[in-house]
């Protein structure tokens, strides 16, 4: 039986408090008038502005930097800029004022977007873990039952995490923030593409869908956890069989809702853009972070002698998943990128233009973190059994996938005004603290060995 150590408890609470304070500061510090933005812009001089001035006779096309290596269509997000500012064009003739107002909206979005990225990141770890758990049941895997309680503990964050996301989306629907452009009736009025999608992209239907996904996942989670606990005391394998069926059902429900969730919650931030493999892409990110967190929590608990029945073959298997899924993620990332890059259709390629022009370091840096590091660090079979190696790689993977979510959400919400500052780090601290608190609190509630599972003997003796 695990007991939540007071050190960890205090650590998570401190993280939450610090995060909360930082977030409050982030919201207060966000500019509310154009004057404040003018000061902000003046204090952060932008030398690249000067470089982008076209020379006489030079077209925008020629301005694209060949040296940077990516020759796309001329800066497409200027099109977005114009669209978003159409209303203000009438009010302000001055181009500078338009620009400043644009920056104002971005800076006002920034703390909200920071909360959204972190909230989604930790939520998706819990959801991915539930999917991994269901896969183990549905496949009747013999190696993993010793890790079931760890997985169940991590999925405990699903309920608070998803409720926070739902509240956030409801607040967006109430226009407290402007992350989702399509929620703004003024924008929709002037935008034919969004107008044509408004049968799907409208606030009530959006929230109903979100409620269905969240309710479904949490109901499945509740029953799977309950059956797993009941199986401990059972004399037959009735509860196990129920969980097997539930898991199969959950996986079907999950893959449909996860896909739609990714369109709704992330892809709709860029309402003009779409990618057919986006659901898979988000899923791969979710799955690899989930397995990483399972491995890290397992190693942490094992280092405290709470999991004597977990041997290094189990760690080896989790590390194999981390390795393989990192490659899977890169495969999907590249599939999405290369097709759009090759076809070079303006409405599709804007997505990557914004990312490569304004987020180059994060965008390509995350590929290094998410593919190259895990590939090289975990390639050797022996390293997959070395705990500190797995933890180190895990930290890199988590960081990389945080940045992955970051570049999914930020370009559409704060555009070129991005910066990983106090709001972002505070949001990460707050949700990280909450995650640790909820997960380890849940782990301390029940025995850490699912002793009734029919495969538990096989799992304890598992040896690769």
């Amino acid at each position: 039986m695990y007991t939540l150590s007071s050190k960890l408890k205090i650590f998570s609470i401190v993280l939450m408090v610090v995060g909360l304070l930082g977030l409050v500061y982030g919201f207060i510090a966000a500019p509310s008038t154009i004057e404040e933005v003018r000061e902000f812009v003046a204090s952060h001089d932008e030398p690249h502005e000067a470089m982008e001035m076209p020379l006489p006779g030079q077209t925008e096309d020629e301005l694209e930097d060949d040296a940077e290596g990516f020759d796309f269509v001329p800066s497409e997000h200027q099109v977005i800029t114009e669209r978003m500012d159409e209303e203000s064009h009438t009010m302000a003739e001055d181009a500078e004022l338009v620009h400043l107002e644009h920056v104002l909206h971005q800076l006002q979005n920034k703390p909200w977007a920071a909360v959204y990225v972190a909230a989604f990141f930790f939520f998706m770890i819990a959801l991915g873990t539930l999917a991994f758990y269901a896969v183990q049941y549905a496949a009747q895997a013999g190696w993993s039952p010793v890790l079931f309680r760890v997985m169940e503990g991590i999925t405990a964050y699903l309920l608070p995490g998803s409720i926070i996301i739902f509240i956030f989306l409801a607040l967006s629907g109430l226009h407290l923030n402007h992350l989702f452009v399509w929620m703004d009736p003024e924008v929709v009025e002037h935008d034919e593409i969004i107008r044509n999608k408004s049968g799907y992209l409208n606030v009530p239907f959006f929230l109903i869908r979100a409620a269905i996904y969240i309710a479904g996942w949490n109901i499945f989670r509740y029953f799977m956890r309950r059956n797993s606990l009941k199986q401990d005391e059972a004399t037959d394998i009735r509860w196990y069989k129920k969980n097997f069926k539930l898991s199969a059902g959950f996986l079907v429900f999950f893959i449909v809702t996860e896909s739609m969730m990714s369109w709704d919650w992330i892809m709709s931030l860029d309402p003009h853009w779409f990618s057919t493999l986006f659901g898979w892409y988000v899923f791969s990110s979710m799955f690899v972070t989930a397995v990483t967190v399972i491995a890290m929590v397992t190693i942490y608990l094992k280092s405290r002698d709470y999991l004597p029945f977990v041997n290094n073959s189990h760690i080896h298997d989790l590390a194999k998943f981390m390795f393989g899924l990192s490659i899977f993620w890169a495969y999907l990332w590249f599939s999405q990128f290369m097709l759009i890059w090759y076809a070079n259709i303006p409405e599709e390629v804007t997505y990557y233009v914004a990312r490569i022009e304004d987020y180059q370091l994060v965008f390509f840096g995350m590929v290094v973190l998410n593919l190259i590091f895990p590939l090289l660090l975990l390639m050797n079979s022996d390293f997959k059994r070395v705990n500190y190696f797995v933890v180190m790689t895990g930290i890199i993977i988590l960081l990389g996938h945080y940045l992955d979510i970051y570049v999914m959400i930020m370009p559409a919400t704060v555009g070129e005004s991005w910066f990983i500052g106090i709001p972002e780090l505070s949001a990460l601290a707050f949700f990280g603290g909450l995650f640790i608190f909820v997960v380890f609190n849940s782990l301390s509630k029940v025995p850490l060995l699912a002793k009734g599972n029919p495969f538990i003997k096989e799992s304890e003796h598992y040896h690769y």
């Binding site: 060949d66 290596g69 590249f334 290369m338 090759y342 076809a343 390639m379």
Partner: protein, 175 residues
């Protein structure tokens, strides 16, 4: 090589694994084992050194990657730059997304083929090679363990092998 060996046949892979452990514990030397299919854990039970095939694989991967990069650079950039779909073909890096699938495929191609050849060479296999197995039944349902007699007593060893569950024991005198 003039050495006396004993061929002990077993009819079950679990029995064989157990016998291998006993033989090694009794400090007899196992020359070779012939099985109709790969027996999981046999290499560890025999105390064979871990395979180095993975290391060669890594080397071949790097060779494949280098070949692919050099090839694409020569074909598409240096020798005859081609305008495909308006994609820039001035430098390798500009056009690299289009090359990644080729780089990946050649990497896999090199690793797979060279590893197979390495494995054949390491196992001393080549076309028209005469089969080495001493008993055709090892290609069907029997497992054969070859134990070197050395300076042990043949009677004693036979007795020992019989007790490990061997179904058939033959003394082979290589002259």
């Amino acid at each position: 090589m003039a050495s006396k060996v004993i061929h002990a046949l077993y009819t079950d892979d679990d029995l064989l694994l157990q016998a291998v452990r006993q033989v090694r514990e009794a400090r007899y030397r196992i020359g070779e084992i012939y099985t109709p299919f790969p027996v999981h854990g046999l290499d560890k039970a025999m105390g064979l050194a871990p395979t180095r095939l993975a290391i060669t694989s890594f080397i071949y991967v790097i060779i494949g990657l280098v070949v692919a990069v050099a090839m694409m650079n020569f074909i598409m950039i240096e020798d005859w730059p081609m305008d495909i779909g308006g994609k820039p073909s001035f430098t390798f890096i500009q056009n690299s997304p289009a090359f990644v699938p080729i780089m990946f495929e050649l990497t896999v191609f090199f690793a797979a083929h060279l590893m197979v050849f390495t494995f054949f060479m390491r196992s001393k296999l080549w076309p028209f090679k005469k089969a080495e197995n001493p008993d055709v039944r090892t290609t069907d349902d029997h497992f054969l363990m070859e134990v070197v007699i050395g300076n042990h007593d043949a009677e004693e060893l036979t007795e020992f092998l019989f007790n490990t569950g061997a179904s058939e024991i033959k003394l082979i005198d290589n002259k």
